[in-house]
């Protein structure tokens, strides 16, 4: 593996290897000394063209725990705001000797462009591109599900688990990545969203089942995990009203509240990639319940990103 661009590229073996490695990384994070010398001398650049707190901090923590040097580059206040192109930014990073670039960009396909361009030699990790993919988020979601729901996590997939992904599927790169990764790992995925917030062509994906209200989905299945997505108002150009009539109606039809939570099986876990809109897609009772693993997802994110950095950077360089 040279780059991590899309969950679609991952085979079941690749994905399980990343999850197993993440489990070993997580074990090292319970020690008193959490720093490992593994990536000493490597340079990881966090290249963020879009605001992000948790993903950038998570990648930064992961790289630092493995002793890599981290350079943070955010578009705000950089030469990008003066009009520099992605290409010139990449050439600059190449000149600085970046071994890996973690890229977050508002344009779908930016990470692929960077990886395929030949502008730089390092590995590219997609940390979210537009409304397209966010593979490390899907991997940490899968890791969290496997840890809670699989009796023998090591080496296992997510076979037989049923997962609901609820909300703004259209704008969600988290759903974009989970829509490939979870079926690859053997889980059955149910999407729940208003028709306006589903991407065109979703019917052509037989592995993904679709419901138009959360109540219908809860009637139809006993879910092992339910993933609530953030309503991405900033991507809803033309005003939120263009996609659904009102926030109140959205909450009524798609929000996870205490009553809907009670209809989930006892073992089911509640997930959210964050940041949450409390009171819109998820109520405080659900977000703060003991079944919520939302905070643990953040901790697992560091382990999964350590695994991804290790697998991309530790081996010999010739394996392009």
């Amino acid at each position: 593996m040279k780059h991590l661009l899309s969950a679609k590229d991952l085979t079941r073996e690749d994905a399980i290897r990343i999850l197993d490695t993440a489990a070993q990384m997580a074990a090292t994070q319970e020690r008193e000394i959490r720093k490992l010398p593994t990536l000493r001398g490597k340079t990881v650049v966090n290249l963020f063209f879009e605001d992000s707190t948790r993903t950038r901090i998570s990648f930064e923590a992961a790289a630092k725990r493995l002793s890599a040097d981290v350079i943070n580059f955010s578009a705000k206040g950089s030469s990008v705001s003066k009009g520099e192109s992605l290409k010139d930014t990449a050439l600059t990073l190449q000149a600085m000797g970046a071994d890996a670039v973690v890229v977050r960009h508002w344009a779908s396909g930016a990470a692929e462009r960077l990886a395929a361009s030949g502008w730089m030699h390092g590995s590219v990790l997609n940390a979210g591109d537009g409304t397209h993919q966010h593979p490390t988020q899907a991997l940490l979601d899968a890791y969290t599900m496997r840890r809670h729901l699989s009796p023998e996590p090591q080496g296992a997939g997510l076979d037989g688990l049923r997962v609901a992904i609820v909300g703004d599927i259209l704008h969600s790169r988290v759903a974009g990545s989970n829509g490939y990764l979870l079926p690859t790992l053997g889980a059955e995925v149910t999407l729940v969203a208003p028709p306006t917030l589903l991407p065109v062509g979703i019917a052509a994906r037989p592995e993904l089942e679709v419901f138009y209200t959360l109540d219908d989905a809860l009637d139809a299945h006993d879910f092992d995990a339910i993933m609530m997505l953030r309503v991405q108002r900033e991507r809803m150009t033309g005003g939120g009203a263009a996609f659904f009539p009102s926030p109140e109606e959205y909450t009524r039809l798609y929000g996870l509240d205490a009553a809907r939570m009670a209809r989930l099986p006892q073992h089911a876990i509640i997930m959210h990639p964050g940041p949450m809109n409390r009171g819109l897609e998820i109520s405080a009772e659900a977000a703060d319940s003991p079944r919520s693993v939302i905070v643990e997802q953040v901790a697992n994110g560091v382990a999964v990103r350590m695994a991804a950095l290790y697998l991309l950077l530790a081996g010999e360089e010739a394996s392009a």
Binding site: T21, Q24, A27, T28, R31, Y310, A314, E316
Partner: protein
């Protein structure tokens, strides 16, 4: 001289002797923790623990044995294909102030042990670290020596020493093979 150097009875005798040496050197085994380096150091550590329990009945072989994966401390990561990371398990009470006996199958360049020493220093501060190996084949590249050796086998650099253990390979044997470029 190639072929099978040690058979199952030889390996068993070597482990029994090393167990006695560990007890003698440390005035008993009360403070001893055995850490096996995967893959084949681990079953060897378990066998040594069983042998120690035979000598010192107070020694609990399961709670005093662990595994130490050194993959993330290797100095050759960037010259090899990516390695899978193994599991590290330590005794419940940690390793501080105990005597650690590292257990590995073949002692060669010393780089594995160098990595293991780094790994140990990240895990705690033992009173002492000792090294037990089944086979010492020479060709050290670092100033490290073993405290307990099952068998010294003079080799040339191109030769290969294969250790087979029942737990991993289905049989017990130490085999010396001619290298491909010899």
């Amino acid at each position: 001289m190639t072929g099978t150097i040690l058979g199952a009875p030889d390996i068993s005798r070597a482990i029994t002797r090393i167990a006695h040496e560990i007890v003698e050197r440390n005035d008993g085994a009360a403070n001893v923790i055995l850490l096996g380096i995967p893959t084949r150091g681990l079953p060897l550590a378990h066998r040594l623990a069983t042998a120690l329990a035979g000598i010192e009945p107070a020694f609990d072989p399961t709670s005093r044995t662990g595994a130490l994966d050194i993959t993330m401390y290797r100095d050759d990561l960037h010259t090899q294909p990516t390695r899978t990371i193994g599991t590290t398990t330590l005794p419940e009470h940690g390793i501080d102030d105990s005597v650690i006996v590292l257990v590995d199958d073949v002692f060669h360049t010393g780089r594995t042990i160098r990595a293991a020493l780094d790994a140990i220093s990240d895990l705690g501060r033992p009173a002492a670290v000792q090294l037990a190996v089944l086979v010492d084949r020479g060709h050290r590249e670092l100033p490290i020596r073993a405290d307990y050796v099952g068998k010294n086998i003079p080799t040339s650099r191109s030769e290969r020493v294969d250790v087979h253990l029942t737990e991993v390979d289905g049989d017990d044997a130490v085999i010396l093979r001619r290298g491909e470029d010899a």
